[in-house]
Symmetry: D3
Subunit: 177 residues, 6 copies
């Protein structure tokens, strides 16, 4: 794809865990949309809950593994953890603080789209790729239920998830108030 | 250097701005100490003050420029912004949350050394390279006084500093209460 | 109503959105209870959620519109946004910090009554006026379901709600995790 | 029980309210496990909610009453309130800041066990004593439903609960959004 | 002054205390610049320090007294307390959350100007009126030194300052660490 | 001393470190003023700075050692760490949350006296005992300068300070920005 001007895209998510859907989106961004992509890991302070079992650092590492598995050029990627600020309208400005400047935001989340548009950003949705299957909540549920969650992750990420025994950790979060 | 086991080092700093002293340290780490290095950008929520003029995102970007200028392999480097937590004893654990796992910490700051040692980490100092000159506070002072600050930065970082007009910003911070 | 001594009342709420029930209460306060009223807008940091769709600033503005629609004397009213502090027992003291001094609190919320009474305040309930219909949650639900929400707001507030396209924003909050 | 070395145990909980189950656990700790016990009162900033009706200070006081009722030596006990930090992985380190040093953690909560084990602590479960009945949530439910909650508390604690009219407070929390 | 379009101005400050210099600026804004003015009281969470002796609520009240003393139309004025967020770049967005929408910012503070300009706002300075004398820090110093601070305040504000015994409070702040 | 009614006193401080001056005050309180005393350890989140070198937990422990050295009855004492809230006017209410109820506050700090009096508490000063010498700042300075700091502490506290190598830690804090 030809671009007259250098373009950098922002791709926010929680990445619990990083799955092939994320990988396809990043690939599409770098092929069709922009020269570089900033992967923003939201709720970075969270871990050891069902919604957010992995620490931000584990997610940084797993995303890098996935990018390697999918032959994505790491030199074109930033991976930036950002903690929650609990103020929706302020949040995109807060993301700006942690991130190199960007020209476009990639998301299918309607609230995230609205919030970045309010700050003046162009927002585009990533293409739909098996939306049903590539959903973090569904993958985490498969993990606790003993389903085949590995199919939604690249092989190195699946191995890493096993190495850190994330499935056990996820089950722990169900037992606590 | 031969290492029997994969090693990852953590190199924390504020990088206001990232200077050649930082670059030499990172080079030394990757040559002599570890396979990968995690550059932790502290006080990530701060900007537009004399102590912390650049945003975390600007520091992420400038560090990447510096690494390229110095031909350091980006694939071996993580750059992670971490906000302040204002609790010294808890801080190294907080850094762990944002960071892939690491084996050794590189710092010459005696308090940082103490805090990571208390959490059980091995800490080593980077070699001294013109310690007098490679100091962030001194470089920022040269900026507001019209001195030759460019010499302490790699060329792309110096250009970027000019592009974002950091010297003007730094002067603004002096006029405010 | 004759009062030997100047009296100022505090009227706390979230005002999502400000409706005629709020307006009637304020009118009653200024006619029967006190010389001035402080309208405290709680959860001021929140916006773009189903519980709290409007920003505090939008609520400040809409309350002023409602007061004008109902011919309430603005000179006798303070409108003060107060963010959450997430500590129930401390909250009334926190409200005191943001507010001119007051003599009485007006609320029908049993927990709010308890918390201000614990700090030594006299608390009185506003009269019940169509309690069923004047409830923020119900009005917001009508908004997303296409019901006749306008009837519960004064005309300028209803126009403003349309101008800022709050109904669209409210629908966005349903689609996000 | 003979111990070659002085041992101090940490016993974390929310103590809403402190019940005989807690008392039996503390007794067992001091008889079988350690020389001293640190009772950590979690969620210390919370009060006046159904999950956390009592303030931390009220819990400190009620625990002391219970220890006296059960003839437990106060000289071997620390009672330390600790507010929430909302970062699971960091939390045990945060507890360390508020607490004298300890050698072992006593808990049956699987997440708490995991979090302290990650920081390197030995964790042991207290013996099960009528687990069904000694559960804070169940006792609070009995309070609002008019059941016989007193049987689960020592007599001084039950009297104190009445003195501060906690049952009324608990009911208030049900009526608020 | 004729304006084709309705204009609202934002006038931020700490107002410790509100003095005639503030009053002149507000008068000028309403005569020359805008239809309405939003007075933003910064550092609203602070009080009982030398830099910020008055609570936000006391400042709200004193500003209203000053506006009345100077015959400024209260219907054209909003007074909004805003706590600190301790992130310079995010701060103007945070102010937006608490405030009705505005078109222009009035300030002589170079950092405040920069921060609002970065968010896209037009910023204009208020005219200089005895800049030397109308400075909060100087007035507070006169208070503790027994100087003639009253001359810089309108009469009702000076009376109110005496009523709340602010000079005594200011002296207390000097004696504490 | 005869008291018709049970009295509990609050004694707030930072206890960096706990010295004989604190011990004499506590003794006086229990002999002359009240039946029980609550020792509130302020700035509990802080450690490893020159102003606050010890963690709250270390201070809890050292205070208990001091009380034993001075034969003070531990059954009459509560030791409660309280983190900073950074809002002066709210702070005494925040202390109330963490503490059993109390009737009187003991302090010579004029700001602390004012803040508790504003909340309606009676405040009394402890007697002056060698005020010059029993000052935390002075003792910490002696520590870094190699002076005779031990004389101001009871013997067990002095031993504990040596055991945790606090003097080394204090020196570290001087070398960091």
């Amino acid at each position: 794809m030809y671009r007259a001007k250098f373009v950098r895209a922002l791709f926010p998510g929680r990445f619990q865990p990083p799955h092939k859907g994320h990988g396809h989106a990043i690939k599409w961004i770098l092929e069709e949309l922009s020269d570089e992509v900033i992967i923003v890991i939201g709720s970075a302070q969270e871990s050891h809950t069902f919604q957010n079992p992995m620490t931000a650092g584990e997610r940084v590492y797993a995303i890098k593994l996935m990018l390697k598995d999918m032959n994505i050029d790491l030199n074109r990627v930033y991976i930036i953890p950002v903690p929650d600020i609990f103020m929706n309208r302020v949040w995109p400005r807060f993301v700006e603080v942690f991130s190199p400047s960007f020209d476009v935001v990639v998301t299918r989340n309607p609230l995230v789209r609205e919030l970045f548009e309010e700050l003046g950003y162009k927002v585009v949705p990533q293409p739909l790729v098996n939306r049903d299957t590539y959903v973090g909540t569904k993958i985490r549920r498969l993990m606790v239920e003993g389903g085949n969650w590995e199919q939604y992750l690249t092989s190195s990420v699946a191995s890493y998830i096993k190495e850190i025994r994330l499935v056990d950790r996820l089950k722990l979060t169900l037992g606590s108030e």
